[in-house]
Symmetry: D2
Subunit: 282 residues, 4 copies
Amino acid sequence: MIKGLSRAGIGDVGDIEAFAEKAAKHGFEAIDVSGKELREWAERRGLEAAQETLRKHELRIGSIGLPVEWRADEASFREGLVELARDAKAAAAFGCTACCTYILPSTDQNAAHFMALATRRLRTCAELLGAYGISLGLEFVGPHHLRTRWANPFIWTMEETLDWIAAIDRRNVGLLFDAYHWYTTGGTKEAILSLKAEQIVHVHLNDAKPLPVSEVLDNDRLYPGEGVIDLQGFLQSLNVIGYKGVVAQEILSQQSPPDSSDTLISRSAEGFRHVYRAAGLQ
Amino acid sequence: MIKGLSRAGIGDVGDIEAFAEKAAKHGFEAIDVSGKELREWAERRGLEAAQETLRKHELRIGSIGLPVEWRADEASFREGLVELARDAKAAAAFGCTACCTYILPSTDQNAAHFMALATRRLRTCAELLGAYGISLGLEFVGPHHLRTRWANPFIWTMEETLDWIAAIDRRNVGLLFDAYHWYTTGGTKEAILSLKAEQIVHVHLNDAKPLPVSEVLDNDRLYPGEGVIDLQGFLQSLNVIGYKGVVAQEILSQQSPPDSSDTLISRSAEGFRHVYRAAGLQ
Amino acid sequence: MIKGLSRAGIGDVGDIEAFAEKAAKHGFEAIDVSGKELREWAERRGLEAAQETLRKHELRIGSIGLPVEWRADEASFREGLVELARDAKAAAAFGCTACCTYILPSTDQNAAHFMALATRRLRTCAELLGAYGISLGLEFVGPHHLRTRWANPFIWTMEETLDWIAAIDRRNVGLLFDAYHWYTTGGTKEAILSLKAEQIVHVHLNDAKPLPVSEVLDNDRLYPGEGVIDLQGFLQSLNVIGYKGVVAQEILSQQSPPDSSDTLISRSAEGFRHVYRAAGLQ
Amino acid sequence: MIKGLSRAGIGDVGDIEAFAEKAAKHGFEAIDVSGKELREWAERRGLEAAQETLRKHELRIGSIGLPVEWRADEASFREGLVELARDAKAAAAFGCTACCTYILPSTDQNAAHFMALATRRLRTCAELLGAYGISLGLEFVGPHHLRTRWANPFIWTMEETLDWIAAIDRRNVGLLFDAYHWYTTGGTKEAILSLKAEQIVHVHLNDAKPLPVSEVLDNDRLYPGEGVIDLQGFLQSLNVIGYKGVVAQEILSQQSPPDSSDTLISRSAEGFRHVYRAAGLQ
């Protein structure tokens, strides 16, 4: 499984070139960025020079974010599709095969109606991404406080998300599997072992404070190996089912950590080494 | 628009042959039955003789009911698909092109999750029906008391149902448009005029007691023309958009009416004549 | 049915504003343009001013062309999707609901394999268009000489095209029905009467020389009413099934006609009046 | 990879119970049968007793055949769907997750039109199978003589079949990968290594005579290890991509071999052992 880094949890790492350089320096093999960054980078440096920079660092693009607002009104949704086409084209030029979005576990809209709207909208996104060889990863979001943050419960478990993926009905839709959400939804190793590798588009790695699970906050995450999540079991199970994609750190927190990016990435790298070793990987 | 009759509101009319005969006698042009009745009829009499009986009465089959339990567990759903294939084949042999089901406006399941499951299941039903040239009609259900009958609100308006149909994403899915549900959801003529005829698979005709709309009960319906629904506007609007399909009476009531089927069908026929005339039809 | 004009057969009519003005002057109610023209127009004049120009002329946009190369390699196809998203967004802003492409009746590729590729590609186009409320019209192409122009026969009849539309499997795909192709494939009024209005996305009007049908050339068309096609029957049949969309002139010829655009549009307008009158329309 | 046996190439092995017993006796772990056999078996013995027989023999059902005639007219196609629903239900009860059909490499129909029809029909089959957790495997057929057996070339390569699968557009459609067709289409190990395991629904194992590839006949196959196909490379490559499903022998020949079933199955078992060992498996 490929070690990846997102911008969440590493301070202000600078532009995509600085991000790539620092990630590579500390042994990461992938970075998660936005399609817009990729586009602008290719425009600024030329596509081939940008591609060459990644090659030089032995880095790949782990995933881009979905630039489409699929949770609000129809006009916003349509607006984003032009952006999505441009991002997908750019991402494909960089060999990126994953685009991800997250599912808030509650909504102020009628939950059933919103599910119908979102099913159609995400299908369109998946169809467009599929034309560029890119899969759409849906991230279920587990922290309990978000389940009542808005008026009506939506969905937050792996099983519900798989059922939704079946409703969306495109071949290139799967899970963004986040260790934090696995943990906060009471996920088990058995649940991971019930999956096929191809059902997983992308993986997030992070850790949780030693609090009752129901009190764990979404933006209060720890670095891998510094908390209580069974990341050894998480990674081992992903390995057993044959997942070979990117495992990217994503540490959401209320405040930016005070340390330098270099220090934070170094700490992340150490965390990855620790949990990978514990899982018998590498 | 073709005048049709379902079994709801005409007492015990007997088997399908008796039903056909009485419907025809009173000027109806279509009957709604179950696929199972059609199958058993064809087995009992022979397909050609049964077809000939309909031809003799100048009757068509307006719609069959969906024999699949799509609201419960997966095993029940699968169980029904064999039945659906058999019903669809039989219905197609009789020239029937509509199969309908209704949407309860609340559910004890998580509403969003149930919407995802039901989307996939109804897609499979629609796909199978489509192979036989049959459309699937979804009936939104308006009476207010049913919106809180189960724990979580589902959907009940025309607009939500159209959004759901887009999520189901088969060409042969449309509305079963029921006057009672149009009325109890505050439906307008403008709403009907915003539709295209091909979005409507089937129509139900019935009337409502002069109560506040929010107190109207689902199984307390009146015969067409005997209540307060603007059936003239309803039918006119359907005619304007070019709907040419079946308009079938469906009178749900708590108790079977005491009169004979003949009396009740005669009363229905008079109701149809009245409201069709008021709408300037025929 | 709305009288429309494409640029084919009216000489060099100038930019979109000149085109709009001349079309309106001669009584046309719609013009067919490219999405790119619409985008550039909106950028140049401002969207609202451009919309206002159309409103002033009581004109609508009949259809745009599909800007995607779906017949060649995968890279070309992908390239066009960004353009399509931009065109669709622009077209929707102008209230346009149709985007059309044509089907060459033979191909140098393996016909079955090409059909598989094209099915997937046009599905993606339709999905993207659908998000903007736009339908995709597929034009079957009838002239016999084109059936052997490339190595392998593809499809060219209305029936085959409807079967293809079912394979593409999006709700918003239908026919671009061209009188010339109807004529050169031996089309009948019965064939039109077998359609539902919603199966037709757009209509082309033009006429054919008095040659044996098998010798009629694709780019040798006449103005409506000046040839041998039964345009009266064509229009009457479309009217009977309830088609209410745009009927746009498209006169392909080997050489630009020598007359001025004004003269040619006037001649077209006269042709339309003639055949509409013969069909009992207006 | 699970060793499986079909009825092709083992003489008259008797009913499903005899087949199961003999297959198990010689170390096979799966048998391929028809859904009808499974249904009739369950009816005859009772579902639980039949299931218990398989359990006792440590056998699974590798795949069933698709009972739908998707290559002929629409009436035949529809006829088969009822059978398919019944077969799928029965197969699911036995834990079978694969249903297969083959693609003839030429056709007397217009190839493009037939591709459109077949795309829709196989989509319906896949949808129905998917409701029962069953995947549809499509077998490309390589022998050169069949490419001109009917008037028009259809498709016969792995790549074309994958493109068709994308056109069919259901999540549960993949390849039936047959060693004979891999060989006769010039298949390489690289081609297999380009696949993901989930793209393969089922595998056939058999061998070819030492003739020029273009002269190899479809119904002239040898037992695994007795011919010239690089079955070692075939199996190794499938193993590398993580395929863990059934590899079933299918030996089509012009005449039934004269030996007893027991002798033939023993010979098959020896062939499997030989090529599995050569491939470093087990």
